[in-house]
Amino acid sequence: MTSARDEILRRVRSALDGVSPAVAVPPAPRAPDRGDLVALFVERVEDYRAEVTRCTPAELDGLVAEVLNGAQAVVPPGLGLDVAGSVVDHGLTSIELDGIDAVVTRAAVGIAETGTIVLDHQPDQGRRVISLVPDLHVCIVDSSQVVADVPDAIALLDPARPLTWISGPSATSDIELDRVEGVHGPRTLHVVVVA
């Protein structure tokens, strides 16, 4: 008996019998230079109804405390920032996380053209689950991490890591196409851009 694998590969080969595999793939075009990338990034993140604040490194801990406004936050072990009253994630269960209001993480890349932050879940960002279950996500992006467009991000990111691309808060338009922020993911996304 042939295995499903061999059978499918055989079908594929016979379907393509006589078809040349050579296809000229034109390179994807690049977006034109849009000037101040960080300003564009901020503008585009705001377009998704996410909140964005810019600050200096010295202002960062004060600002994060202000954004949290007393809400308890979970933080990844490598955040590199003191967040008052926070819980450091060393393998919290999902149920435990469900009882926590907020999460503070860093990011791997910011994409100006699309207003996207990408997390590659290094120790300063933590496991995927911590930035998912709490309702408020405070994400700190360094202005040096902002790139122009998707191809720049793809070139920087390592596919061997799990990646989460975030463009605004969780949203749905499933009910009469009315946009509603927040179904399953964090309902509030606050991006802090440090420069």
Partner: protein, 496 residues
């Protein structure tokens, strides 16, 4: 979900029913126009959109033309990354694999993130028969599932339901499958979404096994990609211990950098956003983060059949953005249900016959569910020439009837047309007859087309099949040739 598409009537019959539903038509028109406008805006923002389309089409076409190599590479990369790879020739085999994995973990439920492939193979029904409940977690799919209904649009499957209907479904059905909707639930979309959040959260937190599809599968890195909006995908891909992804073999792209044009094309074409809220990528098992047992089911189920079709092959480039649905004049009026398949609209009209063949009446009717206006090709981010494939599939349908004893009305009409057109005197006669019919119809018809032209509603006899779901414009009272003779090519004005 107990509803399936099996046994659906052919398109014209189903379309007539859908056309009679004014609520559905209104919802659909609103939805398709809204998404269409949003898409046009964000696409207009990309100066080199056409070049991006060429790149996207190239990436997918190249992957398809060397599919066996890429599938082997994908398998290798996945195994190296700690995933278990399964192959499924057909729907039955794929369902069986998923059920076996779920059973090996002694679960009686799985959570699911919306996936066309799992819908295509009827996975939910199969699991139900095996005693495993499959919970859809996407808001729209939840509405469809709780309403014991069928999805009508790839992207917004509950587009045919309004907020009052959704509230009713939540209030009467949620309790039976978990956390009930609050007693004072209003029909405000935010409140409805809130009820869905609470209802689903409970399921996410307890689920051990999740089932997903994938938008892309990267051969050289073994990376799967899920593009979504609500975060239910992230929940399914992250919280459970076991993840099973059912991936059509046409989802493969060769390299990591091939994702670039695709991730730029898909959200703009699909929801009309620069980027969708969430995109997740994972490569096998990531120790300490997310599911520690990862299965990938590579699914054929007719794809190799489509691959062998030199004209139709390009349909496998489809990235399920649904842009072609939103611009389609036929889809806008009939909705997705009339197509009788999980793949509706222009892409469904070619993909279903390519995957399944045209031996059943329902599938054979689909290539005719189009006016060949070409709008679908224009918006398609991977440049699938849907009109050409439609015409080719019509030929396939006609070929499959070659041996029928009673010729189809269409064949008779075409023969008659050939006879009339081949001789100018016969043509003049036919035109006079047609002009007479036109004058009669203008007098008596009760239907008028936009622009005021009279039309026939349902005609009796062999033409009923055509006019049952279409208005046939009344023939003009004077033919072009008669007008030319009378006015000498318009030189003497209209004169009438």
């Amino acid at each position: 979900m107990s509803g399936t598409f099996v046994g659906m009537p052919a398109f014209p019959t189903a379309a007539r029913a859908a056309l009679g539903n004014t609520q559905l038509r209104r919802n659909l028109a609103h939805a398709t126009h809204t998404i269409r406008d949003k898409r046009a805006q964000v696409v207009g923002e990309v100066e080199e959109w056409e070049a991006l389309r060429l790149a996207g089409a190239g990436v997918k076409e190249a992957a398809l033309r060397d599919l066996a190599t890429h599938l082997e590479t994908l398998e290798e990369s996945l195994i190296r990354a700690g995933a278990v790879v399964h192959w499924a020739r057909d729907a039955e085999e794929a369902c069986e694999i998923v059920a076996q994995v779920a059973k090996s973990h002694q679960v009686d439920e799985v959570v699911k993130v919306k996936s066309m492939a799992t819908l295509e193979i009827g996975l939910n029904d199969h699991l139900e028969r095996e005693g495993i409940a499959a919970w859809e977690t996407d808001l729209a799919e939840l509405i469809v599932q709780l309403g014991d209904d069928l999805p009508s649009h790839i992207l917004v499957p509950a587009i045919h339901r309004n907020r009052a209907e959704i509230r009713e479904i939540f209030r009467t059905r949620m309790a039976a499958s978990g956390r009930p909707a609050p007693d004072d639930l209003s029909d405000d979309p935010a409140a409805l979404a809130g009820a869905a959040r609470e209802h689903m959260r409970e399921k996410f937190l307890r689920a051990k096994v999740a089932v997903s599809g994938a938008n892309f599968a990267v051969a050289d890195t073994g990376t799967l990609v899920v593009v979504e909006s609500e975060g239910n995908g992230r929940m399914c891909l992250t919280l459970p211990e076991v993840l099973i992804s059912v991936v059509g073999i046409e989802k493969v792209v060769a390299t990591w950098s091939d994702l670039d044009p695709m991730l730029r094309l898909l959200p703009r074409s699909s929801t009309g956003e620069r980027m969708n809220p969430y995109t997740s990528t994972w490569s096998g098992v990531h120790p300490g983060d997310g599911p520690q047992e990862v299965h990938v089911v590579l699914l054929d189920n007719g794809r190799t059949r489509a691959l062998a079709d030199d004209v139709g092959r390009q349909a496998l480039r489809c990235i399920r953005c649904s842009a072609c649905l939103n611009v389609c004049p036929v889809y806008e009026r009939t909705g997705g249900h009339a197509y009788g398949s999980v793949y509706p609209g222009p892409i469904g009209a070619i993909l279903n016959p390519l995957l399944k063949g045209v031996s059943d009446e329902q599938t054979a009717s689909l290539p005719y569910a189009s006016s060949l206006c070409g709008a679908c090709f224009e918006v398609c981010p991977v440049r699938i020439d849907i009109p050409s494939v439609l015409v080719d599939q019509r030929a396939a349908v006609v070929d499959s009837h070659r041996d029928d004893r009673r010729p189809k009305a269409e064949a008779v009409a075409m023969k008659a047309a050939a006879w009339a057109f081949s001789d100018s005197r016969r043509l003049a006669w036919a035109e006079r007859a047609s002009g007479l019919a036109g004058r009669v119809m203008s007098r008596f018809s009760r239907t008028t087309l936009p622009g005021g032209r009279a039309a026939a509603g349902r005609l009796p006899g062999p033409a009923a099949g055509w006019t049952g779901a279409r208005d046939l414009p009344a023939p003009p009272e004077e033919s072009f040739r008669a007008w030319w003779d009378r006015t000498d090519g318009g030189q003497f004005g209209e004169g009438r």
